[in-house]
């Protein structure tokens, strides 16, 4: 299929390059290293790609079979509102993930892993550029009074802590975060991009194929090092232990599950032809896929630890230890806690149906805030406890447990989207900030809750 390249107008393109110079200062190192690590591969280019020849008819929902919209004014008001929110959220996540990755990029122990992450960051920048292209190339005046310049400005001015989606507001503590984030959070991105590939808005659908191709590599950037780390852990190396990987997995999986949006929602997107699956269905598939990844990592560990074991014997060891959980049982000299285990889907949740229910790793529930904090202390990376993100969660949970705050209100208090006017009467600026308590906010329907459903 033919692919059309597009560039933002010069001033916007320059703004993205300036952003890159600030938040991706190693970009020049990537270009210098390109031929060493990616020989014969096309060099990275900052531009938008639109794939021609994608399906031109709405593929699901009430308007199935009708021509896809080619400009915002052809969408109905509800569609346009949802779509504009999704594009902004997606742009935010793309830029947001770069801000997270840069914090710990230099701590990589292997040059290859570092350069892979660096390339992934550059491609995330391109994904953000792609979303800005959709905002700037099309006329959204039917939906917002904001100019293109204002929309670009607000997205490029976001920092970790003010991004739309919760997972992009959490600082990384080590390079293990970089890798696990690629393996888990970019996997959510794969789902979102795959679903948006059928978008009833043609420019969105045309934007997805190249982004999906790049996303496949981003997943490899996470999964391949995780597999290698499991091998080295089985060989007795101490740099990245299974315990460390488990705790980082526990940190990110709940955020990944929440990125699909409230489990009761997503129907509007299906009805409007913007996505083919409701939130709960996509979330469930994602959970199963991560479970398969965990199983695969365990097989890698056991095969390394028991080199004489056949595939079937290794499978039996993994399955038995999985059943045993953390009972302390050993099978052929391997203890259950030497392997990775999947946290329960309701564990450490702060959005969606299980938000603030204090569900433990195995699905058990807690009544006491202090006991639950002790449980989390055992299950999450120690360095994460010193973050403002975790402190805010703990304080909010305490209010919920004390009956001072409804769980639904608390869920909305977690980092989300908020538009505020500038303080100066002549100012037209807007920005996105961390939400303040919204106890007085009117109740919203499930599909209208803060968008937590786009990432890559």
């Amino acid at each position: 299929m033919a692919v059309r390249e597009a560039r933002l107008p010069k001033n916007f393109h320059q703004a993205v390059e300036d952003w890159r110079d600030t938040f991706l200062p190693d970009y020049s190192f990537l270009l210098e290293s390109w031929d060493k690590h990616f020989p014969k591969e096309p060099r990275f280019k900052l531009c938008a790609y639109r794939e021609m020849g994608v399906c031109g008819e709405v593929e699901c929902g009430a308007k199935k079979g009708q021509p896809k919209a080619t400009k915002p004014s052809e969408l109905d008001e509800e569609q346009a509102r949802h779509l504009l929110g999704a594009i902004r959220a997606q742009a935010s996540t793309e830029f947001g993930s770069i801000q997270q990755h840069r914090l710990t990029l230099a701590r990589a122990q292997e040059e290859e892993e570092q350069v892979w992450v660096l390339r992934m960051m550059a491609e995330e920048l391109r994904h953000g550029y792609q979303m800005l292209h959709l905002l700037v190339d099309d006329d959204w005046s039917c939906q917002t009074e904001q100019s293109s310049a204002d929309m670009v400005e607000e997205i490029l001015s976001m920092q970790t802590g003010s991004h739309v989606l919760g997972a992009f507001n959490i600082d990384f503590d080590s390079f293990v975060d970089n890798i696990v984030f690629c393996g888990l959070i970019d996997r959510v991105g794969k789902y979102q991009l795959a679903m948006q590939k059928i978008s009833a808005y043609l420019p969105m659908a045309e934007s997805m194929p190249q982004m999906l191709r790049e996303e496949a590599f981003h997943l490899a950037t996470g999964v391949v090092p995780m597999r290698r780390w499991m091998t080295k852990a089985a060989e007795g190396e101490v740099f990245v232990t299974v315990d460390m990987l488990q705790k980082v997995l526990n940190k990110w999986l709940p955020r990944g599950l929440e990125m699909f949006g409230d489990e009761r929602g997503g129907g509007s997107n299906v009805r409007m032809g913007l996505k083919p699956m409701k939130n709960a269905e996509a979330q469930s598939q994602y959970y199963d896929e991560v479970a398969k990844l965990v199983d695969d990592l365990n097989m890698r560990y056991v095969r390394t630890k028991l080199p004489e074991a056949s595939i079937g014997e290794a499978r039996e060891v993994v399955d038995r230890l999985k059943q045993e959980g953390d009972s302390g049982t050993e099978v052929r000299g391997i203890a259950a806690d030497e392997l990775l285990h999947m946290p329960h889907g309701d564990f450490f949740r702060r959005r969606g149906v299980p938000a603030f229910r204090m569900v433990g790793f195995h699905g058990e529930t807690y009544d006491d805030h202090g006991e639950y904090m002790q449980h989390l202390r055992k299950m999450l990376p120690e360095s994460y406890f010193a973050s403002s993100d975790f402190r805010d969660y703990s304080q909010t949970l305490n209010e919920v447990v004390a009956g001072e705050l409804e769980a639904e209100v608390a869920a909305r208090r977690m980092p989300a989207l908020r538009r505020v006017a500038g303080s100066c009467p002549c100012s037209k600026s807007v920005r996105w900030v961390r939400d303040e308590p919204m106890s007085e906010a009117p109740a919203k329907s499930v599909d209208e809750r803060p968008v937590e459903s786009a990432a890559s």
Partner: protein, 148 residues
């Protein structure tokens, strides 16, 4: 394979690496996870749409890796290369390879390739027969090798 099971083709995902390693081990009797991690990392960068797996009975039963390249061996036009094919021995003869190849050829056509090429060792009659059944014919491009 159950007699009424259908083969479904989808893009390879990194969670399939273990399945690919297992199929390779069943075929070659060698456990080579590092080889496949590196290879799949390569194809995920180059052309993930040309990294395919076949699903039968709900599990990965085959895989095929390829890409479209131009400018090699004097071949200037975009050429689809089928580089790796693996089918679980328990599922061989059930149309898995054909389903993978047909999906791959569709992808190559969409990428603008007019020709598809592969290399088969002449001792592997079954593989040669498989590609022959798909319409592949011996090419004038001959492989040469020397020992160093």
């Amino acid at each position: 394979m159950s007699s009424n099971s259908e083969i479904r083709i989808r893009q390879l995902d990194t969670v399939d690496i273990g399945d690919v390693v297992t199929i390779d081990e069943k075929i070659t009797q060698h456990y080579r996870p590092g080889v496949w991690e590196a290879r799949i990392g390569y194809y995920m960068r180059r052309d993930p749409d040309a990294a395919l797996v076949a699903i039968g009975d709900g599990v990965v039963v085959g895989f095929m890796l390829g890409e479209v390249r131009a400018g090699e061996f004097g071949l200037e036009e975009p050429t689809g290369w089928i580089e790796v094919l693996g089918v679980d021995p328990d599922y061989q003869g059930g149309g898995v390879g054909r389903a993978l190849a047909e999906a791959m050829l569709r992808h190559f056509r969409n990428q603008g390739a007019k020709t598809v090429r592969t290399l088969v060792d002449e001792t592997m009659d079954d593989i040669a027969g498989f590609f022959g059944s798909l319409g592949f014919e011996p090419s004038t491009l001959r492989p040469f090798a020397m020992t160093l």
